[in-house]
Every structure is written in structure tokens, then in C-alpha cells.
């Protein structure tokens, strides 16, 4: 039983890490607010299901809500470069968590509870497998496509990409909204997986953890973010007794990887 829930969680993390990799690994846009979009998906599903909507349409709605929010915020903040973008996305994360806390129909600090898994625990595992599978396929289709080539080009040099016919602004926003939409769907699956969600489940620490998963595993690769999700997600379970110090551990691991293997554990040296 324990293995089943752990595998479900790791699959959700792996899908999340891959969705972040579209934005940060391929397009090179470092975001420290990805957890906010995961949360938007989770809260959207919880709210809609509580109001009588079925699981699948609510899941889809969560993805759309996160993706549209990502599209709007991306259009504004992706004009910023590098560290300014990172700071802006941190701000987005805090604002979204504050909205979960203060909007009355989201249950405040107690969050939303009683979110039922429509197909039982095994069913949720299967849904997580499908989520991961579809995300992996999307990730690989994009990487081999004209879109993926354009994203990597603008990551390497915005000026060169523009001069070669790539609409840099548009493709940054495309990557951001695709990545955030997938995060939203993952959030919906997470909501039925845990049954109870709180604003702080989707805070800045989770965003840092997700970025660490991608960076430690290997940015821009396929296996890297998945491996990172398994290592750090597994870590979180194994060391749950030192809950408050987990971020210290991630930070340490991230610092070590960046120092001795900056391309990530499974990344290729370029």
C-alpha cells in the first residue's frame, strides 16, 4: 500500500519536473514559481468537484486555468531576463499562495478537504501513470519539433534566434503556458491523491524543490528531470522525519551537483 502511494507521488513529481523542464531546460527561462501553477490546478479541481463537476472535466479545467494564468503572467514577466525573471516568478508564487489563503471559497489556512479519489487509490495510480506518460510524450514531441528547436535556439542566444527568424517573445510565452498547463493537470491529480490541500503545499519551497529536481537531474534532457524527481521525491519520503531541514538537504545537494557536475547527474557535458 505504501509503495503504491509512493509511486503515485513520484509519477506526479516526474510529470511536474518534465513540465518545468519545458520552460527552464529547453527555453532557458528560470522560474521559481512553478508550484503556484500546480496549486492553481489543484484548487481548481477541488473547487469544481466540490460544486458537482465530474473529475475529468475538473482536471481539464485545472490545466486550462493554470495554462491561461501562465499565458497572461508569462506575457508580462517574460520580457525580463534571467535573475529579474526569477524574482518576478517568486513574487507570482507568493501572490498565488496569498490568494489561496484569503479568497473565502478556498477554505483559508485549513485548505480544502474531502476531495474524493473517484477511482480509489489504484485508480489514482493509473491516472498518475497516464499523466506521466502523456507528459513524457508531449515533452519528447516538443524536443524533436520545430518548436523545440526554436526554444533551444532562444535559450542559447535571443539575439541570434531573432536574427534567424524565431519570434523570441512568442515562443517564450508558448513554453511557459504549455509548462504551466501541464503543471495544472498534475495539480488536479495531486488533489485527488492527497484528498486535502493547503495553500502552503504550493509555496516557494516546492518551487525551489522542483527546480532542484530539474537541475540535479540534468536540465534540457529527458531522463534528467525524471531522475531528479525520483531522487528528491524519494528523499522527501525517506527523510520526512527531518521535515524542516529538507530544504537544507536539497540546497546542499544542489550546491554539490552545481560544483562538481554542473550539467546535472544525467546531463551531457557540452
Amino acid at each position: 500500500m505504501y509503495v503504491l502511494t509512493l509511486v503515485t507521488l513520484l509519477l506526479i513529481y516526474a510529470a511536474l519536473a518534465l513540465s518545468l523542464n519545458l520552460i527552464t531546460g529547453l527555453a532557458g527561462q528560470v522560474t521559481l514559481g512553478h508550484a503556484a501553477f500546480f496549486g492553481i490546478g489543484a484548487y481548481t479541481l477541488a473547487f469544481l468537484v466540490a460544486h458537482g463537476l465530474g473529475f475529468w472535466p475538473a482536471l481539464l479545467a485545472g490545466g486550462v486555468a493554470a495554462g491561461v494564468t501562465g499565458l497572461l503572467l508569462g506575457a508580462i514577466s517574460l520580457r525580463l531576463r534571467d535573475d529579474f525573471l526569477a524574482i518576478a516568478t517568486i513574487a507570482i508564487n507568493f501572490v498565488v499562495v496569498a490568494l489561496f489563503l484569503y479568497l473565502p471559497f478556498f477554505g483559508g489556512a485549513f485548505g480544502m478537504s474531502g476531495i474524493e479519489a473517484p477511482f480509489g487509490d489504484t485508480g489514482t495510480l493509473i491516472v498518475a501513470v497516464v499523466l506521466f506518460g502523456l507528459t513524457a510524450v508531449l515533452h519528447e514531441v516538443i524536443r524533436a519539433s520545430d518548436l523545440g528547436l526554436a526554444l533551444i535556439a532562444l535559450r542559447e542566444s535571443e539575439d541570434a534566434a531573432g536574427a534567424l527568424g524565431v519570434d523570441v517573445k512568442r515562443f517564450k510565452v508558448t513554453a511557459f503556458s504549455l509548462g504551466t498547463a501541464v503543471a495544472g493537470v498534475a495539480g488536479g491529480v495531486y488533489a485527488v491523491y492527497v484528498g486535502v490541500i493547503h495553500p502552503h503545499d504550493f509555496g516557494f519551497p516546492l518551487s525551489v524543490t522542483l527546480l532542484a529536481m530539474v537541475a540535479i537531474g540534468g536540465m534540457g534532457t529527458f531522463r534528467g528531470p525524471i531522475a531528479g524527481a525520483i531522487v528528491l521525491g524519494g528523499f522527501a519520503q525517506a527523510f520526512s522525519f527531518i521535515h524542516n531541514y529538507q530544504l537544507v538537504l536539497y540546497g546542499l545537494l544542489l550546491a554539490l551537483v552545481m560544483r562538481y557536475r554542473s550539467q546535472g547527474l544525467l546531463g551531457r557535458r557540452e
Binding site: 523545440g148 526554436a150 541570434a160 534566434a161 515562443f171
Partner: protein
């Protein structure tokens, strides 16, 4: 009119008039040499033409159409290609994939361009282009691993992949061996058959031989323009620029 026309273009940065009322034109089949000392405004003019900067005044026309307000990528898609003075290779991508980016530009206007970027037709075209600049043996190497001379030639191959109507080359010969420089000039001579070329170059002797006309800038303005041979004898030009560097 075919080619490129720059009409009364000016650009100031704060109090500095980087480009002042510059007009020039280049037609298909012509190579225009753009000369002048450092800080004369040549690269700023390129950035105004390519769309990286917007002029305060004046117009830029490509194939007779006003492109002054068009974003960079639209100009590139219409066949305005450029190389950078400081090379900008897409370092993590292979040499072939660097050329694939401009070859993909036609499909990049779709809503979600999810079709595979490696097509037989593109690989074939990339091979031909890399052959032309002498990079066939480096096709699979990461662009970041190339020495400077090869990076410069890769920039030229990428620009040619846009099927340029106008080609802007910003010091393509700087740092190249004489042999590599000749190779690039040969490529330029072939490219001019379908495009107008503007060449910024400090190696005056090499470049003048490749030009049909020359424009000399100083302090943001044009001080002379015309036949390369006449320009070389212009006293203003000799004083401003060629004087000490004429046999460089």
C-alpha cells in the same frame, strides 16, 4: 526597388548621435562596403536595419516595402539576414542544427509547430550550406567547440540559410586566416547573385576588392560614397580613416 534602401536614418543614445541622417542603397548583385573608424556608427546602423534598434527618424525599405516598424524575426523571415561582429553561435546545438534553425523559420509561424524539425530536405540543404563554407567535417560537432574562424563561417552559413535578399555581414573576416577570409569572400561573391550584400570590414584591402561600391562613415554620418577606387583617393576619407590603416 529590389534590395535594401536606408533613407535618412538617425539614432541617438542620450546625448550621443550614433547615426545621423544616413542614406544608402544596395541592390541584388551588389556588394556595398561600409567603412569607417571604430565608433563611426556602422554596427548601430546594422542594428537599425536588422530591427534590434528602432531609428528616431528615417525609414528602412526591404524589396521596396517599409520595414521600419517590423520586429527582428519578421525581417529575417523576409530575407534580411545578418551575422554578428561578436559571433553568437547556438553553442549547445550541433553545427547542423545551428543551420536548421533558419531553415525551420517558414513553419514557425503556425500556432504550435510540433512537426519534427529534422526533415530529409532540410538535412540536404544544411549539408550543401556547410559544404559551401567548408564546415562539412564539423557538421555533428557542438557549435560551441569550434575555433573562432569556423564560428564566423557558421554565422555566414546560417545567414545564407534564410535565402537572403539582403545580407548584412559585420566584420566577417576579422580574426580569420587569409585562406579562410578568401573562402568567405568567395561565398559572398556567390551569395550576391541573389542578394544585395553590405559588408563591414576593417581589412580594407581585402574588402575593397570585393566591393562594387563603398560608403565611409565617421561620427555617425556618411562622409563619402561611390566607387571603391575613387573613395580610396578621397582626401576626407584618407584623413578620417585610411590614413594610417591604408595598408592594413
Amino acid at each position: 526597388m529590389s534590395g535594401l534602401a536606408v533613407q535618412g536614418v538617425s539614432k541617438a543614445f542620450g546625448g550621443l548621435q550614433a547615426v545621423a541622417d544616413v542614406s544608402l542603397a544596395v541592390e541584388h548583385g551588389q556588394v556595398l562596403g561600409l567603412f569607417g573608424p571604430n565608433g563611426a556608427g556602422k554596427t548601430t546602423l546594422f542594428n537599425l536595419v536588422a530591427g534590434l534598434l528602432r531609428p528616431d527618424e528615417g525609414h528602412v525599405l526591404l524589396e521596396g516595402e517599409d520595414i521600419t516598424r517590423l520586429p527582428v524575426h519578421r525581417r529575417a523571415q523576409r530575407g534580411l539576414a545578418r551575422t554578428f561582429q561578436v559571433v553568437k553561435p547556438l553553442t549547445a546545438l550541433s553545427v547542423t542544427d545551428n543551420v536548421m534553425v533558419p531553415l525551420a523559420h517558414e513553419r514557425l509561424n503556425g500556432w504550435l509547430p510540433l512537426r519534427g524539425y529534422r526533415t530529409a530536405a532540410r538535412e540536404q540543404r544544411a549539408r550543401v550550406l556547410l559544404e559551401r563554407v567548408g564546415l562539412r567535417d564539423q557538421a555533428d560537432a557542438p557549435a560551441g567547440s569550434l575555433p573562432l574562424g569556423m564560428k564566423k563561417r557558421l554565422e555566414v552559413a546560417r545567414a545564407l540559410a534564410l535565402d537572403p535578399r539582403v545580407l548584412l555581414l559585420d566584420e566577417p573576416l576579422a580574426g580569420l586566416s587569409l585562406q579562410d577570409a578568401r573562402l568567405v569572400l568567395d561565398v559572398v561573391a556567390t551569395a550576391r547573385e541573389q542578394a544585395g550584400v553590405i559588408l563591414i570590414e576593417h581589412n580594407v584591402r581585402l574588402a575593397m576588392a570585393a566591393c562594387d561600391k563603398a560608403v565611409v562613415m565617421e561620427a555617425g554620418g556618411v562622409i563619402a560614397s561611390g566607387e571603391p577606387d575613387a573613395i580610396k583617393r578621397d582626401p576626407k576619407v584618407i584623413e578620417a580613416y585610411l590614413g594610417e590603416g591604408s595598408d592594413a
